[in-house]
Symmetry: C2
Amino acid sequence: MNILVTGSSGFVGSHLCARLRQEHKVFYLARPHNPAQQPGADGNTFFFADNNIGALTLFLRQNQIEGIIHLASLYLQTHQEKDIPSLIQSNVYLGTAILEAASKAGVQWFINTGTIWQNFNAPDGSDRYCPVNLYAATKQAFMDLAKFYSETTDMRICTLKLCDTYGPNDTRRKIYALFEENARTGELLQMSAGEQKMDILHIDDVVEGFVHLAQMMHDGEKLQDEYVLSSGNQLSLRELAARYEQEHHVHLNIEWGARPYRPREVMTPYKGNLLPAWQPQKRE
Amino acid sequence: MNILVTGSSGFVGSHLCARLRQEHKVFYLARPHNPAQQPGADGNTFFFADNNIGALTLFLRQNQIEGIIHLASLYLQTHQEKDIPSLIQSNVYLGTAILEAASKAGVQWFINTGTIWQNFNAPDGSDRYCPVNLYAATKQAFMDLAKFYSETTDMRICTLKLCDTYGPNDTRRKIYALFEENARTGELLQMSAGEQKMDILHIDDVVEGFVHLAQMMHDGEKLQDEYVLSSGNQLSLRELAARYEQEHHVHLNIEWGARPYRPREVMTPYKGNLLPAWQPQKRE
């Protein structure tokens, strides 16, 4: 397949593209000002400036792009007022512009990336929308716009909602990075009471989820509008720390309860509809 | 009350502001490039340039704005690719920026304006979302962003979904304007088969709906997230034409069925939850 990936320079994107290139011809959409994006000399990267939807349409058509995997996103745990234009631009406008171009270029399918944070306090699997933060709200807003294209064109659109992720080359300061640093330095780490449940997937499992869904899209399987990639194994932060100590034969110097929970701390992650015929294989 | 209105130069906005000024102190938010907006010399108009959320916050606080009625919108029956940036900017970003400022300025309530076109083919009153067009999708997207603010602040937020409207000084080319012109000129008017049901409200009834909801917001009544303003009286386009002929003692020269229905023609408008304790009084 000829597949266009957005957000290919990010954590998920870089792993996914390496995997996709084993079987498919991969094209990239990048923003002109993204220094992390290294354009190939082979014309397989399209630099999307704000309003050139027509040029993107041409690029998609000329390269006979069959499907798009849309990972590009501005992630902010909490926002400040100065962030609002970029949040809307990156998480709402960009995807809409790509869908407009894709619908005109005859692209057959579009995989969107959501977050389980769109469903705060809905651990029962209901699809009730309640955003953890403004980032999650922009993800939901984009799904509304995508719905217009799935209703009015032949393009098939599906959203994969991701839980937390970990793996090599993750520059984000995530929980395993904290544990590793703590085991190494032994400095006191002050944390919340640690009763919040975590749902955290290895990047290889995330990548296989996208690859699997892309194949289902290609095969024309009947799909729902959204699926979740989840470890299926929710442990509390404390349990996660204990397991880390056991498996790595280290001691973590953590003071539990030294900090309050964050506002809108997710205590029980959303489960939703798991992607069918996919199972996580890796575990920290 | 001190009320800020956006979109005050539009059809609904101009009628609403005239009515609000009878009882309340009205402030205006306008875009710097809107020539229809005549700023008063009394400092009651705030010109919102793209990213000055801080300045808006100050304006809201200094003028002790209690509530906001958000009417500003870019309406497009069908869009072209060049319209996408403005649709997102006007219908998604602007409202989000206002909510951010409002939440910081202690504004107590916010009335948003939606459209029954967010619920295509859902005449059963279910709140299933399915947009008629991209305009309706941007309205839904904004409601999802508004949900973040209603969940995380004390501000009360409610959306009024409007059906079609008519009344004096309507510069939009709507159905009664077409009838009036046809009765005057007698020229042949080619229309669709005319079986689509219409839900059309006089502007005075729309205005009273907003005034009534503002009062309920002020009084702290328990409200749902959204209500519909509907005539409660759905007639087909043919029936509407026949009634117009009868009541105005004119003959309309219409060739029914000469044109196809539009793509995604709304045959049965969405009813939804009517605004409580409000009844339309006027009828064409």
